[in-house]
């Protein structure tokens, strides 16, 4: 239909000129659906991501670190709020999205399916996981959908703060006792490859994601760089930081490649990544169970709030009549 074509042309005119699509603008249905899935997965990752770090709030080894951690986990809840709100501008409700999460029809970042076994894991998550997240997300501050781009600006600012705090926490450990340094190295050993896997399957080869998606997302301006480009960027940023920390990245294949101007490194075990995505990671069940329990335990509270609001409205209406 001509009208559709015209609307599509208007959409691409905005996208191609690096403009912003806003909620009331026309957009292709596939664009809308892809965005919803992407924003929702991002939102879910924020709220599931509260758990592995939240695991150490009660046991943080100093009151200062406890405050920093509490504030960080609070920020993650806040990011979840912005992102669900951004998704809602596309015509889905938070409740619908949570229901999709709880019934395993939408995913969250697999990184949160690994356990936080020691205090150093909290630092490692800040340094590596937030570092990888920022690498993924900074390009999204220029993404074509306005509400998502604006949410990302705020989120990236806070996450880069968290990343520095994580680095600083690990630095304190590596400059501390032998036990603290060992704890930090152990955390890096466990979190390195899962962090690399956060960028998703490789661009090419057998394990590459089935074709078309990336190209489409790039065309729509909701993905700016390929998985492998972002992964390389993360490695290049992180290796010098590991040297400042005095920690050894657990990759004997890691070395500077003068010719490429990049670090060469061993790719993560993508088979493991797929297993964890499929549900077989160490904590998949625990994380989802925790989330669903919180949702169920709070049902009566949300119902009460709804009932109260309705009563209040009725009272106001009566008073006005």
């Amino acid at each position: 239909m001509a009208a559709t074509d015209e609307r599509e042309a208007a959409f691409y005119a905005i996208v191609d000129s690096d403009g912003r699509i806003e909620p009331r603008d026309d957009m292709p249905e596939a664009y809308r659906k892809t965005l919803i899935r992407q924003i929702a997965q991002h939102a879910h990752s924020e709220i599931i991501g509260m758990q592995p770090e939240g695991n150490w709030i009660s046991r943080a080894p100093s009151l200062r670190r406890k405050a920093i951690l509490l504030a960080k986990v609070q920020d993650e809840a806040g990011h979840g709020l912005y992102l669900y709100a951004a998704a809602e501008t596309l015509g889905v409700s938070r409740d619908q999205l949570l229901e999709l999460l709880h019934t395993k029809r939408q995913k969250y970042s697999s990184i949160f399916n690994y356990p936080t076994l020691t205090w150093a894991d909290v630092g490692a998550i800040g340094w590596l996981v937030d570092g990888a997240a920022i690498t993924n997300q900074v390009p999204l501050t220029r993404c074509s959908y306005g509400p998502y781009a604006r949410a990302m600006v705020r989120i990236c600012k806070e996450e880069s703060f968290h990343q520095r705090q994580g680095f600083e926490s690990l630095l304190t450990l590596t400059r501390g006792s032998a036990a603290q340094k060992a704890m930090a190295q152990d955390a890096l050993d466990r979190w390195w490859y899962p962090s690399l896997a956060m960028f998703g399957p490789p661009d090419t080869g057998e394990q590459a994601a089935p074709g078309g998606h990336t190209e489409q997302s790039m065309r729509w301006g909701i993905k700016r760089f390929s998985n492998d480009e972002l992964r390389q960027r993360f490695v290049d940023m992180t290796v010098p930081q590991s040297e400042v920390l005095g920690l050894t990245i657990p990759d004997p294949g890691l070395r500077w490649n003068e010719e490429r101007g990049h670090y060469d490194f061993t790719a993560p075990d993508y088979d493991e990544l797929f297993r964890v995505i499929k549900g077989d990671g160490p904590c998949n069940e625990q994380r989802l169970r925790h989330r669903v329990d919180a949702q169920n335990d709070g049902a009566w509270v949300r119902e009460a709030a709804g009932a109260y609001a309705a009563k209040q409205q009725a009272r106001r209406r009566e008073a006005a009549a």
Binding site: S58, R59, S62, L63, A77, S177, D297, W300
Partner: protein
């Protein structure tokens, strides 16, 4: 003597912050994860200032962490109320109402303390606590005047925490001496405005004031419930495992 006063106020804030932190990632809705973490952070901030000040006053070189992590439960001076297990959301909100309404009256008056540090802490804290009190008030109204189930739970929550309210207004030799000097607030003077506020909220929510039960007290003398030991074991274990470490 001022150190003992600062310690009691700091312990109240620290232990309640620890309890509220347990809610994070399990709150009934995301907004409450944010709100409860926020209140916990405010309390933790108050605790850090008060414990630091207590350490300076006692002059033995103990800092906030030495006081938080190296005292045993018999040395904690918090009121029993704040160490009670969270229970369901109604129990937590009942405890929040009782405690925030008390803390608000306390800090409101403590701004006039002749001790500059206490006055300054109070000046900052009173704004935070005003929000805590309002947050709890809104929830007590919603739950008390929400559904049948929420009302039943709210009534039960209030009954659970009510016997622990009275201890907040207990004076001792420390508060007697310091309030005579204008340094501290006599806790007994807070009971009336506290009662007026809390009863106002209950009335608006259509809830009755819980039946009087024997007051539970002892925290200010280090006689705690059996719950505190577990809270401290969890909180202190890592820190105590590395006695010389910096974090």
């Amino acid at each position: 003597m001022r150190d003992r006063y600062a310690l009691a106020l700091g312990d109240d804030a620290l232990v309640l912050a620890q309890r509220l932190g347990e809610w994070v990632a399990r709150a009934p809705e995301l907004e409450e994860d944010v709100a409860l973490a926020n209140i916990a952070l405010d309390l933790l901030g108050q605790a850090r200032t008060m414990l630091t000040y207590a350490g300076e006053l006692e002059g033995t070189g103990r800092d906030e962490d030495a006081l938080a992590y190296w005292r045993d439960d018999r040395d904690f001076r918090n009121a029993l109320l704040v160490e009670l297990p969270n229970g369901d959301f109604a129990v937590t909100m009942a405890r929040q109402l009782v405690f925030a309404a008390y803390q608000y009256e306390l800090y409101d008056r403590l701004r006039a303390s002749t001790d500059d540090t206490l006055a300054a802490v109070a000046g900052k804290a009173v704004k935070e606590v005003h929000y805590h009190r309002d947050h709890a008030t809104q929830w007590v109204l919603r739950l008390g005047d929400g559904t049948d189930e929420s009302r039943r739970r709210m009534v039960a929550g209030l009954a659970t925490v009510w016997p622990y309210a009275e201890e907040l207004f207990d004076g001792d030799d420390v508060t007697a001496a310091l309030s005579a000097e204008g340094v501290a607030v006599d806790p007994a003077t807070l009971r009336e405005p506290w009662t007026a506020y809390v009863e106002g909220v209950l009335a608006e929510a259509g809830l009755e004031r819980p039946a009087d039960a024997a007051p539970r007290r002892g925290g200010r003398r280090g006689l705690h419930t059996e719950h505190l030991g577990y809270l401290l074991a969890e909180m202190q274990h890592l820190h105590r495992s590395h006695p010389e470490a910096t974090w």
